[in-house]
Amino acid sequence: MTARREPDPPGVPGAHLKWGWAWPANRRVMYNRASADLKGNPWSERKRWVWWDPSFVNPPDPKTGKPVPHGKWVGYDVPDFGATKAPDAQPKPDGIALDALSGTQPFIMRADGRGWLFVPAGLVDGPLPTHYEPHESPIQNPLYKQQTSPVHKVWAPGKPYNKLAAVGDPKFPYVISTYRLTEHYLAGAMSRWLPWLAELQPELFIELGHDLAKEKGIKNLDWVVVSSPRGHIRAKALVTHRIGVMHIAGKPIHHVGMPWHWGWMGLSTGDVVNDLTSWVGDPNVSIHEGKAFVCNVEKA
């Protein structure tokens, strides 16, 4: 079934039900009862998908032999709903599972049959996403007076090894992200010992834009010192247009980036980029803000 490749003809609306197989019932859009309104008619002609045909003659119930009232959900897709459950059906008083849901509750895998925009418990923030600046940022939050998430984690607050820059600190004017390369894995403890990988990316580098490079007198492959409130490291400069200056809140803000795969053992060695990052983390899952903090870059 999964190898079927029979599309619907062009120009005809359809779900291409004969193209492969969507487990478990070949239904292509989940909760597709929601494509029809409370009365069972499509919300719009353009979005007609699954709808209630009240005149459909149903065969008797194969299990009990009792006749089944007229009406069936029909359409382009396999209905994700009781096939003959009318839009005005009421939940059974002592019903369990789907019997406890009415004809206007399409989210059949939720206990109340409704779609939820957010969970009522389990997260420390929310309910809806919004924009906060990272703990270290060169600018004020343009959306709110509340600069950062009020519930984000800060480890060792006030300790000298987790100094954090104030907003717009001129000593650390650039935004830095850390990221990965294909050739190395995590902190590089394994990949930096493998000759075939070490030769593909042999040294730590910092990627910076041509504008910043010119401003600081840095040429491609020059040694630079990258510093943050937590410390400083050395790396070679890779000057590129793939990263560069952005204009934010009326200011030119330089963005620089470093892969964080290096350490001092192995065939390929280099400074540890995590010496720079801030001990600040996501409110729920504690991932640290390794992709958004501030730094300074100077020619070594």
């Binding site: 390369l181 294909t182 050739e183 493998l194 000759p195 075939w196 990988l197 070490a198 030769e199 593909l200 990316q201 042999p202 040294e203 580098f205 834009g209 041509h210 504008d211 491609n220 492959l221 070679k236 890779l238 590129t240 247009h241 793939r242 990263i243 560069g244 200056v245 952005m246 065939l267 390929s268």
Partner: protein
Amino acid sequence: MPEPMGFFTDTTVCIGCKACEVACKEWNQLPAENGGIGELSGDSYDNTRKLDGIHWRHVRFIEQFKGPYDGRWLMMSDVCKHCVQAGCLEVCPTGAIIRTEFDTVVIQSDVCNGCRACIAACPFGVIDVNPVSGTAQKCTLCYDRLKVGLEPACSKACPTDSIQFGSIVELRTRAHKRVDQLKAQGVKAELYGADPEGALGGLNSFYLLVDEPEVYGLPRKPQLPSSRLAKSATFSVASAAVLGVLALVGLRKRRMDEQSRGGGGGGSSNV
């Protein structure tokens, strides 16, 4: 009966992961350069730089930007082109370089004596000496794998199917379809080496490129070395003839001068 096999490399889907480089090294057990201890090249994400005796696959990274964030990053896995008319095979004086039943070009490592004529002859700069063996080495299109019905290591490893392996006839059909599809999207796509009437009779490892060949480090009109033999030999023969005539005329003049002086010894030199 085996038919011409090779690669069609669609550079538009290459992600620059270098799995092809590593798979090739692993299958052929090639050493890393300097044991893996190297220096950053500064050339984008390309620290391999060129094909050589211990790098038989090389991923190029070409940054084409007008300003910050404004441009594109081209990636291409370079390899031996397995030319239908191969310059390296032409000049090899030991007969080490042969054409296999798959129409691929292979250097027999036990015959090569490391004279390096093939290195100078290759129009694509693909070959170099493997310092371990002292002989010239390059991509074999995994001849050992083809013989047992496997596909080459690089094409097997390629996660995006940028490197596609198969019969040349089928690959060319596929490639032309892909070019048409891309052109319909407004991409300036061209095939390099897919024309059997074209340079070197076509390349059994051909490419889909989105810019001029020079951008990718490829020669626009690669030629066979022997195309230069006739002219070079003619001019050399002419030079030899001139010198020969000068020598003989000089000797003759000397003899005639001495005869006209009535022979005898002494006398200042003339001619």
